[in-house]
Symmetry: C2
Subunit: 429 residues, 2 copies
């Protein structure tokens, strides 16, 4: 496949810019984001490479795309405050821009005067990542969270209903999802307040009389997020076989969850305040092309599916290693889980096909979450609810600390990456 071959080419290629072999932002990645700096507070597009961001607004204004006429005609999109217009240009445009920037940064670049030997532009447009502030990369029209992590669904279902009835009867027939809250999606690094809400001190006691308290079962959900780059009209459906063309790229996601609030509120219309106090995404959107070499087999689903969900290719998951750290207010950091994005029973094309089978319109900038991604082994689960077995068994942390759920001051760090060395493609440096 075209994109795959390109990535392989660049994974063996050196840059004139010093890039650590441990950097998630290798020449094979080139993720897109929105930055501002102390000297220019206007948010603007950038790509991340090694320890640097390339300010695409400055780069474009200073003839950075002059050797690429197909891009040059549209450089006004690099002055926008979000990536929506860039995303809406479609995958072939994203591919052209990414490949051009890879060529610009390659040691034997065919265009050395554009950046490699242009000391003025380098000093202005290449900014150390530690000096940039990242912003939400997209204006999110709608945010939908799926529930495609089958191990998570099984683990949580087991906690509530036992292993016999863990998965609801619809679970393997359709990608279950709920509409989330776009206004509370924030970029990595944003502090969140512990939500207040109605909770039950004993969920089994009758009559049920709620307390009004701060959330006591504050949890994380390790997810992959996907940004849409192409819309469909109201009443139209996205065909599962062409749905991959609607994918702009991916981010890591933490769908913070107030378990005690959720337990009381969610019948019969689903989670609401338990989820709408914050959903964090990583700042840099890793393009679909950059992850194309890491396509792998997802979880098997032996349920006969209706045609609109049938895919020819079983290689429809992404092999992305995932890790969760908790750093406590005492400064102790513990990696509490190691999972992988391949533990999904529904693919992104299936999610898009199902979401639109009703005629629901997608728009560029829409965000879809995978649902919590848990493995099957101990310490591969994507939520504290699973890791602490419903809050019954505390996790042991460094420094003799322990956690059932999050405490005030805890910092959660999620990492995700595929490949290694010059071909390492990841989300957070």
């Amino acid at each position: 496949m075209h994109a795959k071959a390109e990535v392989e080419m660049f994974s063996g290629t050196k840059s004139w810019l010093s890039i650590s072999p441990e950097s998630h932002f290798s020449l094979a990645n080139i993720p897109f984001g929105i930055i501002s700096t102390p000297t220019n507070s206007k948010p603007r597009p950038a790509v991340a490479i090694g320890d640097h961001a390339l300010d695409l607004s400055l780069f474009a204004q200073n003839n950075g795309f002059s050797a690429a006429p197909g891009i040059e005609a549209d450089i006004q999109i690099f002055s926008d405050e979000t990536l929506n217009a860039f995303a809406a240009k479609g995958q072939s445009f994203h591919r052209e821009v990414r490949m051009y920037l890879q060529a610009i940064f390659t040691d034997d670049t065919p265009h050395p005067t554009i950046l490699k030997t242009n000391e003025k532009l380098k000093s202005e447009a290449l900014i150390a990542l530690k000096d940039v502030q990242t912003h939400l990369p997209m204006e999110i029209g709608d945010y939908t969270d799926f529930f495609a992590g089958k191990n998570h669904a099984f683990n949580v279902g087991t906690l509530f209903r036992g292993p016999e009835n863990a998965l609801n009867s619809n679970y393997l027939h359709l990608p279950v999802a709920y509409h989330g809250r776009a206004s509370s999606v924030v970029v990595s690094g944003t502090s969140l307040k512990r939500p207040w809400g109605q909770t039950l001190s004993d969920p089994k006691a009758e009559p049920k009389v709620p307390n009004f308290t701060p959330c006591k079962r504050l949890d994380i959900e390790l997810e992959l997020g996907m940004f849409v780059c192409k819309g469909n009209a109201l009443g139209e459906q996205i065909d599962v076989k062409s749905a991959s063309r609607y994918i702009f790229g991916y981010v890591l996601m933490n769908d913070w969850s107030a378990r005690d609030i959720q337990m009381w509120e969610y019948v019969p219309l689903g989670p609401f305040n338990a989820k709408n106090f914050g959903t964090t995404i990583s700042a840099w959107v890793v393009l679909a092309d950059a992850l194309a070499p890491f396509v792998t087999k997802g979880m098997e689903n032996f349920t006969p599916l209706h045609t609109y969900l049938q895919q020819d290719d079983v290689n429809n998951a992404l092999d992305i290693a995932l890790e969760i750290d908790i750093t406590t207010s005492k400064g102790n950091t513990t990696t509490i889980s190691r999972s992988n994005a391949k533990h999904l029973v529904w693919s992104w094309p299936q999610m898009l096909a199902h979401h639109t089978v009703s005629g629901c319109p997608m728009r560029p900038g829409d965000l879809l979450g995978s649902g919590t991604i848990s493995g099957t082994e101990f310490q591969t689960q994507g939520s504290l609810l699973e890791l602490s077995q419903g809050g019954k068994i505390p996790l042991k942390l460094e420094g003799a600390e322990e956690r059932r759920f999050l405490e005030d001051g805890d910092v959660v760090t999620i990492r995700g990456w595929s490949g290694k060395g010059a071909g390492l493609v990841g989300f957070v440096n």
Copy 2:
């Protein structure tokens, strides 16, 4: 109250423009919308009055607001393609603009040369409603649908669980809601396709194997919609006692529902494709001030509420008569229900307070739905599910037709109004 006195004043006042006493768009109303015309396809703000729209963009450009310096400084907002910027100016600004326009249209207007005797501007900016196309009035950041119609919740709960367990245990403690899909909210007049989806031929049969079919239980939900004009930051709460200041205005809403799709998909995360194929709102936003004279007592809730939901004033509902017509493809029109917007057990301030008690941010342009508004009597219910008792007993329509659920080609018309004559305030002419 200030706004109330003004409305009363204008309800006894004549306009130089001929306005039928049956018009929902009386001088006491002045609702805001977005229009385009055959000669100017650019969407732009307008108000509706009698059988006319006043193009606020043209009016503003031609010194229409020159006698109102407090408005004149901000007239660029009347060149926008949505009402978001106008809404975000806040209630005191909406009040000033509405009262000024009422003064402009009053027979003894203090500013006759601005419009009354300005034949050129009248011929250009006053456009017959039949010649304007209306558009979505707001860019909707997020859409949330509540479930505050207690009679509806009881009726539907009875169908599924019997009268003893009709209301879930949380129902009277908190305003239950789900996050809806903003991308599928459309303006009145937009045709919708019957959605396809997974349905069960017999919901009680085991094992459950879904069919893939067009929706067979296509329903309506009679609701009131509310647009937000003021935001809160992430992590902040809106106090129930000041929440009314966050209300821009109201629209009628039909939250179209695919009951058979919903039945299979909704466990455990709530309705999804059953709702995201279309939600219709009326085109003209009736400002909070215009409905202030019609504040009345809502449904009583004897459940002790937590402080954040307690209101001093029991007059927190709106007395708006509501009607639903179905016009079949044979041309027969039947009024199938007569309800009233006062049949809500949660007020808009309570909904806003609950929505944000977690710290969820509201933004100007957010849309909240009330939930289906049903009365207690026969033919006062707001959905076909209730009117046909779960699809068991067909409704008799004109022309010896009947309906359990909607058929292809049916046109649903919702009307809503308060008051009468010169004080008539309604949503659809």
